[in-house]
Each structure stands twice: as structure tokens, then as C-alpha cells.
Point group: C2
Chain length 387, copies 2
Amino acid sequence: MLKDKFRLQIPGPTPIPPRVQQAMNRPMIGHRDPDCSKLVHNLSLRLGPVFGTQNPVLILTGSGTSALEAAAANTLTEGDEAAVIVTGAFGDRFAKILNSMNVQTHRLDIEWGKACHPEELKTFLKKHPKIKAVFLTYCETSTGVLNPIKTLAETIREHTDALTIVDGVSCIGGVPAGLDEWGVDILVSGSQKALMLPAGLSFAAVGERAWTTIQSNSHPRFYLDFRKYQNSLEQSTTPFTPAVSLLFGLEEVLDMLEEEGLEHVFHRHRLMRDMARAGVKALGLELLANHRDASPTVTSIMGGEQWSVESLRSELRYLGLRVAGGQQHLKGKIFRIGHMGYADPLDVLTALSALEVALARIGAPVETGAGTKAAEEEWIRVSRIDH
Amino acid sequence: MLKDKFRLQIPGPTPIPPRVQQAMNRPMIGHRDPDCSKLVHNLSLRLGPVFGTQNPVLILTGSGTSALEAAAANTLTEGDEAAVIVTGAFGDRFAKILNSMNVQTHRLDIEWGKACHPEELKTFLKKHPKIKAVFLTYCETSTGVLNPIKTLAETIREHTDALTIVDGVSCIGGVPAGLDEWGVDILVSGSQKALMLPAGLSFAAVGERAWTTIQSNSHPRFYLDFRKYQNSLEQSTTPFTPAVSLLFGLEEVLDMLEEEGLEHVFHRHRLMRDMARAGVKALGLELLANHRDASPTVTSIMGGEQWSVESLRSELRYLGLRVAGGQQHLKGKIFRIGHMGYADPLDVLTALSALEVALARIGAPVETGAGTKAAEEEWIRVSRIDH
């Protein structure tokens, strides 16, 4: 086999488009140079539609977790009460961050593989009237579940004055977001998922109501202080040295998203999800999430009784396809196929073909061709509607 | 759809491996610098196994045709007699080159889609006892036919003193070659096919018997004079400015071929051919070449009665796959899928999936999944034997 040829279909990092890779190779510029100021200014505005906001989006140099912690550190301090809706490993990470700040944290634990729905959130919120913020995960990377943020944010607004703070790391850029319209207060994301960049940048879209809290919040912070980023942005710059090559790449990514059109980008992601699910089901494998809760960016598939998920992943790797395993208690029980960013329907078909061959090679029961057939038919069906 | 994401599966140029692309970006060096001499020296020797020769291989800066013409211009002159075995558009090109030199050319025209076999060559050779050279095509790119060069070269040696001159442009690097062992006198190739580079370099492996002719041949030539390349090579250099970035890339290509091992490279190409053919047949489409004559590097598929090949190609292009059409009288009648160089079995499955969806979208009769199923089963079958 060609050892260095592989398809990266894990739920992040995702493949870098060649034009983005090229953009990142531009000659380095100083981060206090007027060219860099212009870049920072434009990027923060052009990210707005991706996060569903008129406000400029803050750009931090750090991985997704830096923005998760920043969202907490800028809005809460020791002794405050907050709620975390935990639908998987990344909801759990929010809880860990809050614990490290000595915030009094109330967890709403949802079974992994299911989304949180408004009724259960409502019941939970009623029990905790003093919370100052609710932390939610838009796409839970560890399970492939997409929480219905729009309706959950409405529920929060309806029943409390708490801020709605959302982790959108593994879906922003692949699914619609409406910071302004949905009443979300802070929406954060990272660069290495649907935004088609290497890891290294994180983003925070911040609404008006959140700014009031942020300005007065006493929690100690320096590198992650949103006020510094906002003040610098007013001077078209960043408070600390930014990852300039990633900013070059981000400019190209925004060109690509604008050229395709965000609605088309979202449609492509939904199509990839529906194809992946149709294919997996046709192979007789079980999906972790039900259709209502399934994210357009990543699909989690249950292992079988007669074969090992880790053997399957290692076989897929040999065949030229890299997929992810499960995290925490789902390790060894599921595998996950990412289909976001620089991914198209043919990638889903390639993944299903590889899956069919790999299952056969590890001796698992499989009807070769059945998964690709079902996924192809989904694509054909949807493209007939489009025409 | 992602407009700039596509799979290049035409029979050349072929995709450039990322590590080769990176190698070509090395800082430029002078072509008379000792570093470049070392590079030229090593490359000419390392190309030997790819062409099946102990001799250093000549490296020309030019497209494949430059090496085809060089092979003729260095061995024949006006008034000489030569034979060309024409199995498609590139056999025809040899004939055109010979005509431009006023060589008295005898054509053995074989039906496009079929290979030339020893018996018909033998009969033909007997009719033309005065020929000084026989020109053959190893893989005929226009049809996907692989001529059995080993046995044809034996036939030529047995029945004439003519030189055996072979165009290996669309297969060398993907199939075995034996200049020394098979008694081939000149074997030429280009960089942009199974050798995984952009176009711009061409290669000529030259045997001892050919050198005797070349030294005394009176045909006027300058840029394409093999003697100049050979003399320069003895000084570890080239007679004219070489395409240095492509030499950097070639070094990396040879690393890749050596790391995988030539036998494994050839096995991979045969597997891709067998998968492509099994898939196409299962879809009820007709293959241009029969199994005995089919090249491991490119597969030609007949169009159907009820649909247009050009609509299919344009639909495939929309879906993210680029395949080639037919040439000359096969234009509109066939399409061709390349599977050589930086290509693996999963690429064949991707192409078949795309073909199934495209056929459905243009309203052609197709059983979705049937092609991928058959190709997957071929892969599974072969990998069981391997284990």
C-alpha cells in the first residue's frame, strides 16, 4: 500500500485545502505591521456570518480549550453558580474548567449519544435559580450529537437570566449558528474542524449582554481576558502575538466559504451526514445517535459483538482511511467518522467502501456494496430534489 | 459542491504526492553546482531498476514526445526503413515522427483496444526484411492496452536485426520493465504518469546495441542528441539546463518507489486494474480491452447506447472526479480512468462510486452499489491470498 497516502476522516483535525496550505506559506509579516492589522480587522468581521453575529469575532491564539476556559473565566468567578449540560467528553471538559475555578457547578448529565432537549433543560433550570451561566456543547465531538442550541437558548432566556455559553468547536463552519438571533451570549470555536485549518486559533463571538458581565467580572485572567482582545481589536490588532500563518490560512478559508455560500456549505454537511447514516444502517451497523440528534459533522458507529473496534480501525488505517475511536467509557465501543470542512459526498462513499472491505477483512459479517449503495441512493435522491 | 476539491484520475498527469510537491519547493540551486551534479549522477543510476537496466538512464528536459522523437532521431535517418506497431494514438505519434524524418515507415495497424501479439508481429516482420528499427508502445494511453513487450522484443530479436524501441510513457514506474533482460534497445518515458511528477522530464534507457547505431547515425540533431546526454552524464551533468525542481521531485519519487518496493508497486497497479475491471463489468458496462491486453495503469470503458459519454464525464466532474475521454475515432465512444502513480485501491472504489451516482444522475441504467461491491470483493479476495 502507499504508506503516506491516507484520508483523514477523524472529527478534527481535518484535511487542509491545498489553497489554504499555500496561503499559509506566504512570506511572514510582522504582527504589528499595517498589513497584519488590516488582516485582523477584516477576519474578525468576516467571521461574523459564520457565528451568526454582527459583532466582530475575537481571535485567540490557542486551541479550542483556551476559548472554552476564556468563556468561563470572563463571566464567572469563585463561588458563582453555573450549570453545565454534559452530553459527552466536551461537556465534561466545561465542568472540569468550572471546577478548577471553584465555581459551584450543577451538572445535567445526559446519556452519551443523546442530545439535551428543552423539556429536561427546563426542569433542571427550575432547580437551580441562582446560576449565572449555562454551558452547552453544540456538536458533542465525542458522540456526534448536535444539541438543538437555538431552542435550548430560548428555553434558558425564558426561565433564567443566566448567560448561554456554547462550545461550537466541532461544528461551526459546517452548521448554521445564530449568536444574535438565537440569544446565545458566547459562542466559541477552534480552527481545526469545519474551519479547515490546523489547530492553533480559537474564536469567541460575544453578545452585548455577555459584555456587561465580562467588564465587571473579577476573576483573575490575563492571556484569556476578552477585554484585552476587544480593546486591541478596536485598534485592529491583537493583545499578544497571533499565529500569523494561520491568519493567512483563515483568510483563504473565508474566501472558500463565501465562494461556496454558507447555505450550500451547510447543505453539503447535512447531505454527508445523511449519506453516512444511510450507508452505516444498510451495513447492519448501529448508529450511536438517533436521526434527530445526529450532527452533520461527525457520525459515531457502534462496534459489533463479534469483532473489535480497534481491529477495525487498524484495518481501515492500513487500507488508507483514518477514523477515530471512542472516548472515555465509549472507548472500544464506538468509532467515529468525521465529515466536515474540506470533505465532500465522495469522501463519505470512499469511507463506506473502506469500511466494507475492512469489515470483511477482519471477518465481521458484511454485505459488501450495501453501504455504498444506500449512501449513493441518498445522494441521488437529494440531488433530484435540488434540480 | 466543493469546487476546488477533485480527484485527478485521468491517465496523466497524475496527482503529485505531498512529499514530492514539498521536495520541488526546495530552494533553487545552480545546475552547474556540485550539489546538482551529485543529484543528476544519482538519479540516472537510481532510475535503472525502474527501466530494468544497469546503465544510467538519460534525463531530458522535455515532455514525453521529446524522448519519442529523440529515440527515432538518434537511430534512423532519411531513407531508412522502420516499422511501427500502431495500437492507438501514441503508436500513431511514432509514425508521424518517422514521417517527419522521411523515414520509410511500415505500419502494422492493430485494432484500437487490442494488443499486438507475437504471431502477427512475426508475419509482419517477414514482409519487411530491411527495417532498421521497430517502434512499439508499451502501454497505449489512448486505449488502456498493454502490449506484451517482453515477448514482442524476443520475436524481433529472433527474426530481424532491427532495434526494438519502446514508448513506456504511460506505464513505466507502474509495471515491470526489463531493458537489459528483454533485449529492448531503447525504452523512453515521461515524468507525469506513473512517476508521479508534473510533466517536464523525459527519460531514455539505452542498451549497448543501440549505442553503436546512435554513435554512427547521421541524422541532424542537437537538443535531442543522446550522445550529448551520455557525454555530459559521464561528467555527472546535463548538456542543457535541466528542470531542477523536477529533479528534486524525482529524487523523492525514487525514495517512495524504493521504500514501497518495486514489486509491491507493480502488485498495487495490477490490483487497481483488476478492481476497476471487476467494478465496470458488474455495472454492465463494456471494457474496451480484454483481460489479457489490459494495462494496470489505465482502464477504457465503452459508452452506452442510451447516454452520452461527454454528459457522463461532465457529471463526474461535478461530483468531484476527473476522468478522460477518448482520442481520435474513440472520442465520444469511450472514457478512461487512470489508476497509476500516487493512486491506491480506495481511489478505484471512489471512482466506481462516483460512476454509479453519475450514471443514475444522467438517467443511464445502473445498479447502484454493484460496481463497488465487485471491486471490493476483488480486493478482499486478493488480500486473502496475500495473507
